[in-house]
């Protein structure tokens, strides 16, 4: 019979909407409003899981995120693993199976581990599996671990989203305290963000039969929700868990299946002026022998199943408690017609008001549960009185309550402190570290009348019992049901000296499961305290860490994926590059640039050779737009540039430019670039592509923090100017063919100067710089004209065999010239002198960034690694870039490295650059590249292989 445990009426389920679902391959029926757990309870499924270590049969214990025992894996389109069955809303066609057992929880082969229990106490693996080594055992152990299967596909439809939100008050939890706080803040006109993890508001009121001013409490909840809905200043989310509390009152909320069905989960980053923690309290377990039998459940969960879902987990119940709350449970059970065999209360006296709630029930004070019988379902509980009288009481459910823990996870995550409260036997919020307050049960107000005026509830009183400790105790008493950590494990840890609560946790793994010990951690602390004879406050808690409950990585990532994972930048020529088959590279500062332009069937080297030959013998063009460019304005620009560059810039006259190096004050090379003086007070500074942002930061920092009185204003113009750089012996011919009003003769327009005019009809600034060693014209135009200019250049250059040039060829061309490259020769150790660029280090200036440090460093004793050219003895022998040079090619400490090695079309051989100890004095000698199985002799030369006097670039 289906739903044998379902009541004929009652509960917040929609009996008009039956839902079919499958659990471990068997079909069942539940109703809309059920969780998977409540539907399983309704269908009388008792064994729902196997435990992690011993594979003991387990049932459903709780009713919310605290559930320690029943973890399932969802199958099909919403596949995901390790989900507490208590947190899965039931839906039509849901398919779930238990994790950690095979073939089923009823019959699980791993159950043989139960026989081995005594051989595998806490920490046993530190003492074994050592010989011959861990590798022998690891594969089997890995296979056995891991609970659910790993996901093998991203969600097939829908996506995740992350967004920002701002609020005056964030309230975590829509139970009575949270709703009340939301009403008050909302009525006061504040912006309110109310988030609750449940499917509907009400918190504990959903599970309990309470009244407010004589009316059912859920009526009050419905009114509150309605009033909040009408307030435009209130955002109220259900199925939304506040899972992290970060610095500066930033909280992260995970909302499941928000209104748009295309969004699977939404992550909210909420910045709150004030945070109200109304997260309620979690019932904790009692610790006694075999307290993990299927049917041993939290009392409040039994109450929830009865009241909220209209199901009874059993027919004959025994209740075990050390506090008052269980009496309300018993009262509800009786009202529903369920038989309560007995209430066992560990306290010596039970308050009369409490007893009055359960007239006619058998209440045994000073009595504990000593054991539970029934491997696959509770059959009887052993009551043991203080005088040692034992009796077995037959039952099918043992509901227990070890008291209540205020849910202080968020409070603790905020760095706020906790204090152990002896009266409530629980850790309570103490000093707030951020602008937050805890209210309601989260603050220790465990009765409704403490929270809401007119609320009626039984006063909460407790005498803590951290574990049942009886002589001749047999059977394991679990502190952490999920990780199978028993009292004896904790005792063992303490006995071996692992006596700090963190040691206990790590040695036993107690509290490290997916539930993070929500029902059991305090009992571990209590057990440690008892054993050591110290108060609980002294033992302390382990740190509460986010997330409060597991949250999918997809939601954290949000929309940021695929092409927008990292920003990307395009020039107006990017589309042309892609259309013309360029192989595109990541090129620094998030630009995507062409690496090379292969013809049909051509490889990298052939394409590069072709492009290089064009530049050396004819003409090439590249898109130089990404180069960082800044316009500097003001009277103090000259002295500023003299301070940030190692050479003198102030002597430049308008229209002219100079190459320079920027150093950090500890003498490392930051960047190289070119400075042009536009007129008296306007300057143009260009930086390398990759370092543009960093150089902007560097210059602004100096100006704003070191020299606030200097009049220098910087405007970034990288994207205001694009350029096509035409380079090669025929570059002037192409310029003429394009048509320009600028006199291009070397006399009228020499190297390192610029001219404003028109080129191909576009307003342009033409600059004579060269990064290839050839005659070059950098034609700068506004980006709106760039694509058209590019087309015209290629058209005008066609008769001269013009080719577009990618970054691979640029690399070859600069190596042939010995021009340095950041990231190759400049690797954080070489200075300008090492690179043979002493000429760029001003001797005239008394101070500039890096000067003092470079001098100090060079006074050190160590031999410098200096830039040299290398020619492999075998001209056809390529040396890998980055290869070490060692003395004599021996396998010993290196004396240098090859920074670059390229096929030089002008030399028809491999040529390279290297940093070599004392290299400047070793020209003509042979050095040795040491590879794993090979030594390559190379001749040491000057680091230049083409036009050493620079006649071509000045031509």
């Amino acid at each position: 019979m289906t739903q044998s445990n379902r009541h004929a009426s009652g509960g917040r389920i929609d009996r008009g909407q039956p839902l079919r679902f499958a659990f471990n391959g068997k079909s069942y029926e539940g109703f809309e409003g059920d969780t998977l757990a409540s539907a399983l309870v309704a269908n009388g499924v008792r064994v729902t899981a196997r435990s992690f270590k011993y594979h003991r049969p387990r049932g459903i214990v709780g009713h919310g995120p605290e559930e320690p025992a029943t973890l399932v894996e969802l199958e099909g389109e919403d596949a995901s693993g390790n989900r507490p069955a208590t947190t899965i809303p039931l839906r039509e066609g849901l398919r779930a199976r238990s994790v950690n057992c095979w073939p089923s929880p009823e019959f699980d082969l791993g159950g043989v581990n139960q026989l081995l229990g005594r051989f595998i106490p806490a920490g046993f693996y530190y003492k074994t599996f050592k010989w011959p080594n861990w590798h022998l055992f690891e594969p089997s152990i890995r296979k056995a671990a891991g609970l659910a299967a790993a996901p093998n596909n991203p969600p097939s439809s829908g996506h995740f989203e992350a967004r920002h939100a701002h609020t005056d008050v964030l309230i975590a939890g829509a139970g009575p305290a949270g709703l009340q706080a939301a009403l008050e803040a909302g009525r006061a006109g504040k912006r309110v963000f109310l988030a609750d993890e449940g499917t509907e508001a009400g918190g504990s009121l959903l599970n309990r039969n309470l009244t407010i001013n004589g009316q059912p409490a859920m009526g009050w909840v419905d009114d509150a929700v309605q009033e909040l809905r009408e307030m435009t200043n209130v955002t109220h989310l259900q199925k939304a868990t506040v899972w992290a509390y970060r610095e500066h009152n930033l909280l992260i909320v995970n909302e499941r299946n928000p209104e748009q069905d295309r969004i699977i989960e939404r992550s909210w980053r909420v910045r709150a002026g004030e945070v109200i923690i109304a997260t309620g309290a979690t019932e904790r377990a009692m610790v006694f022998s075999n307290n993990d039998r299927p049917g041993v459940m939290l009392a409040s969960s039994v109450q929830a199943y009865v009241n909220r879902w209209g199901v009874t987990p059993g027919k004959r119940l025994v209740l075990f408690t050390n506090n008052n709350s269980v009496y309300a449970v018993a009262s509800d059970l009786v009202a529903t017609g369920i038989r309560v065999e007995a209430i066992l209360d560990s306290r010596a006296t039970v308050p009369q008001a409490t007893l009055d709630m359960v007239p006619g029930l058998s209440v045994h004070a000073s009595t504990v549960v000593g054991d539970v019988r029934g491997r696959k379902g509770v059959k009887a509980a052993k009551a043991v009185s203080a005088t040692g009288v034992e009796s077995w009481i037959e039952c099918d459910v043992l509901a227990h309550s070890g008291g209540w823990n205020p849910t202080v996870h968020l409070w603790s995550q905020s760095r706020s402190s906790l204090q152990f409260d002896e009266r409530l036997a629980a850790f309570l919020p103490d000093q707030a570290a951020q602008n937050c307050t805890a209210i309601g049960a989260a603050a220790g107000h465990l009765a409704l009348d403490q929270i809401i005026e007119g609320g009626e509830d039984l006063a909460y009183e407790i005498e803590p019992l951290w574990r049942v400790d009886l002589p001749d105790q047999r059977g394991k008493a679990f502190l952490d049901i999920q990780n199978d950590v028993s009292v004896s494990d904790v005792h063992l840890a303490l006995r071996e000296g692992y006596d700090n609560v963190e040691h206990v946790k790590r040695y036993t793994t107690g509290g490290m499961g997916i539930d993070q010990g929500k029902t059991g951690n305090i009992n571990i602390i209590g057990t440690v305290a008892m054993q050591k004879g110290v108060p609980l406050q002294e033992v302390g808690t382990t740190t509460f860490r986010s997330p409060y409950t597991p949250v999918s990585f997809g939601a954290i990532g949000g929309l940021r994926e695929g092409s927008v994972l990292f920003p990307y930048r395009h020039t107006p020529v990017t589309q042309w590059n892609e259309d013309n088959g360029a192989v595109m590279y990541e090129a620094g500062a998030r630009w995507r640039r062409p690496g090379y332009f292969p013809d049909q069937g051509e490889g990298l080297q052939e394409a590069v050779n072709r492009e290089c030959r064009a530049v050396r013998e004819g003409v090439g063009v590249y898109d130089g737009s990404p180069l960082g460019t800044f316009e500097l304005k003001g009277r103090d620009v000259p002295q500023f540039l003299d301070f940030v560059y190692s050479n003198v810039m102030s002597s430049l006259t308008p229209g002219n430019g100079r190459y320079g190096l920027m150093l950090s004050d500890d003498g490392l090379i930051l960047d190289d670039g070119v400075v042009f003086r536009l007129d008296d007070h306007r300057w143009l500074v260009s930086t390398s592509t990759g370092h543009a942002d960093a150089m902007n930061q560097h210059m602004e920092k100096l100006l704003q923090t070191e020299f606030p009185d200097w009049q220098v204003m910087i405007t970034t113009v990288t994207s205001q100017w694009n350029n096509a750089t035409i380079c090669g012996p025929r570059a002037r011919d192409v310029m003429q063919a394009l048509g320009t009003d600028i006199d291009l003769s070397p006399e009228a327009f020499p190297f390192m100067s610029f001219r404003d005019g028109t080129v191909a009809g576009f307003p342009a600034r033409v600059v004579r710089v060269s990064f290839t060693g050839e005659l070059s014209f950098e034609v700068n135009v506004a980006p709106r004209h760039m694509a058209a200019l590019w087309d015209k250049v290629l058209e005008a250059g066609e008769p001269f065999g013009i080719l577009p040039v990618g970054s691979e060829s640029s690399h070859v061309l600069r190596v042939e010239k010995g021009f340095l490259s950041l990231g190759h020769e400049v690797d954080g150790t070489a200075d300008a002198y090492d690179l043979g660029m002493g000429w760029v280090m001003s001797k005239k200036k008394t101070d500039y960034l890096g000067k003092r440090s470079i001098l100090l460093r060079r006074e050190g004793a160590s031999t410098r690694r200096e830039l040299v050219g290398i020619l492999p003895d075998d001209p056809n022998k390529q040396v890998p870039e980055g290869a070490p040079l060692t003395p004599g090619g021996r396998k010993e400490a290196t004396e240098g490295l090859v920074t670059a090695c390229v096929w030089s079309v002008v030399n028809d051989r491999w040529v390279g650059l290297a940093l070599l100890q004392g290299g400047h004095g070793r020209h003509g000698e042979t050095a040795h590249v040491r590879l794993k199985d090979e030594v390559i002799p190379v001749k040491i030369t000057k680091p230049v292989f083409h036009d050493p006097d620079g006649n071509l670039l000045r031509s």
């Binding site: 074994t128 152990i141 596909n153 000296g497 997809g554 990292f566 400490a893 490295l897």
Partner: protein
């Protein structure tokens, strides 16, 4: 802090299924018992013996002796480096009158918070041999300390997505070859075979995967076991470990030398004091007026829920900015970049965290459905040139080991070389480039481009 706790599910299978090995197990155990005569031997036999006495007879892993007022050497910090140093002082140099002082619980600092990656793929001559030594020492540590470190030499695979990164890694490879450390390039196809879960980074991806680099020497182990193993072995050699003993200040004698320390439990005198406290180095040395070129930063990590075995290597994605490995318990243990500001907060920054997660999802899109289970932060100090500092300071008798961001892999060799330095008062050859002297002429040791900032 990560957890690599094996499941217990198949113990029976293992014990039964490996009968052929029982003879070896017995031989090995007896050898070990002889080697470690002073400690309770840990083996499958001692475990069985204790099982029948209800595990009531296991001795303490370490003692809690009364704190004396004088020691030959005081080591501040019972983390990996402090405990290892104390152990090697006693074992290799016969210096046994050593106290290790810990303000919290032993093994509770960064050793409790790191991602247990052990590797030697460095770039400079100064670094590689040291890490080659450390990796080798780790591999023998389980047997040396008679404590199962669960060392799993499972290989690290770099997923390369940009050409400049490939160039940098190949440079490392070529230098590492000289020192016998392993690094090999593999194709994208081979990469997919090694890491089937790597389904992102295709040709149309924002950063397409170019190739992989394989570092077979790399491994992971169990961090708590390293701390506990060293603590237990050092204790057995006579070293005293004092937890809940906070050092408040360093004391200098009239000669300017170090003469002891002030603690919350009173004054302790010692002619040699070792500071091995990671992020808190400057907090301590400044009590003696010593400034060091160190800043403290926060590094974060997180783990997923445990799942069935999926990835059996350490995956490092330097271009995307994350790395992870799957623990024996099934959790993905994930790390990203540090947060640059100075911090002692031991927390995670949401923006840094999101950067790491999105990078991971781009290469492992199926992890969208995987769930975050726990996250945390640790603090570490980083020197001005980002390389470690191990030296006797300008205060005679005061030794520091600091600047190890990613110091977990350095624990064995770091402990050994520091013990050498303390015993002989001269730097160990493997660490001679890492003294404070290098700053006098700004001779930085720049280990440029260390993988995803570890």
């Amino acid at each position: 802090m990560c957890s690599c706790i094996p499941s217990y599910k198949s113990i029976w299978v293992i014990l039964q299924g490996r009968c052929a090995l029982v003879k070896k197990l017995i031989d090995g155990t007896y050898l070990l018992m002889n080697a470690m005569a002073t400690m309770q031997n840990y083996s499958v036999f001692s475990l069985a013996r204790n099982a029948f006495s209800g595990h009531r007879n296991w001795p303490l892993a370490w003692r809690s002796p009364p704190l004396k007022d004088q020691y030959d050497v005081v080591v501040i910090g019972a983390g990996g480096h402090g405990l290892a140093t104390a152990y090697y002082l006693a074992k290799e140099f016969g210096i046994k009158d050593v106290a290790v002082l810990e303000r919290g619980w032993l093994g509770g600092g960064n050793i409790a918070r790191n991602t247990v990656t052990i590797r030697s793929n460095y770039m400079r001559d100064e670094s590689i041999p040291f890490y080659v030594k450390s990796v080798a020492m780790y591999e023998g540590l389980t047997h040396e300390l008679n404590f199962n470190m669960m060392h799993s030499k499972r290989t690290m695979v770099d997923v390369v997505q940009t050409w400049p990164k490939l160039r940098e890694l190949r440079r490392r490879q070529l230098v590492m070859d000289i020192y016998g450390s392993t690094y090999e390039q593999i194709s994208v196809n081979e990469l997919h075979q090694r890491i089937p879960a790597l389904t992102g980074g295709g040709p149309d991806a924002r950063l397409p995967v170019i190739c992989g680099m394989v570092h077979t020497d790399a491994g992971v182990n169990r961090h708590d076991a390293v701390a506990w193993g060293y603590a237990r072995a050092a204790d057995a050699l006579g070293v005293e470990i004092h937890q809940q003993t906070a050092v408040q200040s360093l004391i200098r004698g009239t000669d300017g030398n170090i003469s002891g320390i002030e603690t919350n439990r009173g004054t302790v005198r010692a002619k040699k004091v070792v500071v091995a406290v990671s992020g808190h180095t400057t907090t301590l040395t400044e009590t003696a007026g010593l400034k060091l070129p160190l800043r403290t930063m926060n590094l974060t990590a997180f783990v997923s829920e445990p799942v069935q075995p999926l990835v059996d290597v350490i995956v490092n994605c330097p271009d995307s900015g994350f790395y992870f490995s799957q623990s024996d318990k099934g959790e993905m243990v994930i790390g990203g970049a540090p947060d640059m500001g100075q911090s002692f907060r031991r927390d995670i920054k949401q923006n840094v965290f999101e950067d790491t997660v999105t990078a991971m999802l781009s290469l492992f899109p199926s992890f969208k459905k995987l769930k975050l289970m726990r996250q945390w932060g640790g603090h570490l100090d980083i020197a001005h040139d980002a390389s470690p500092i191990m030296d006797q300071t300008e205060i005679p008798g005061l030794f520091v080991t600091a600047g190890w961001w990613g110091g977990y892999k350095a624990i064995p060799a770091g402990g050994l070389t520091l013990a050498y330095l303390v015993a002989k008062e001269e730097p160990h050859p493997l660490m001679s480039s890492f003294t404070l002297n290098r700053f006098r002429h700004l001779d930085f040791v720049m280990e440029a481009g260390t993988t995803t900032a570890r």
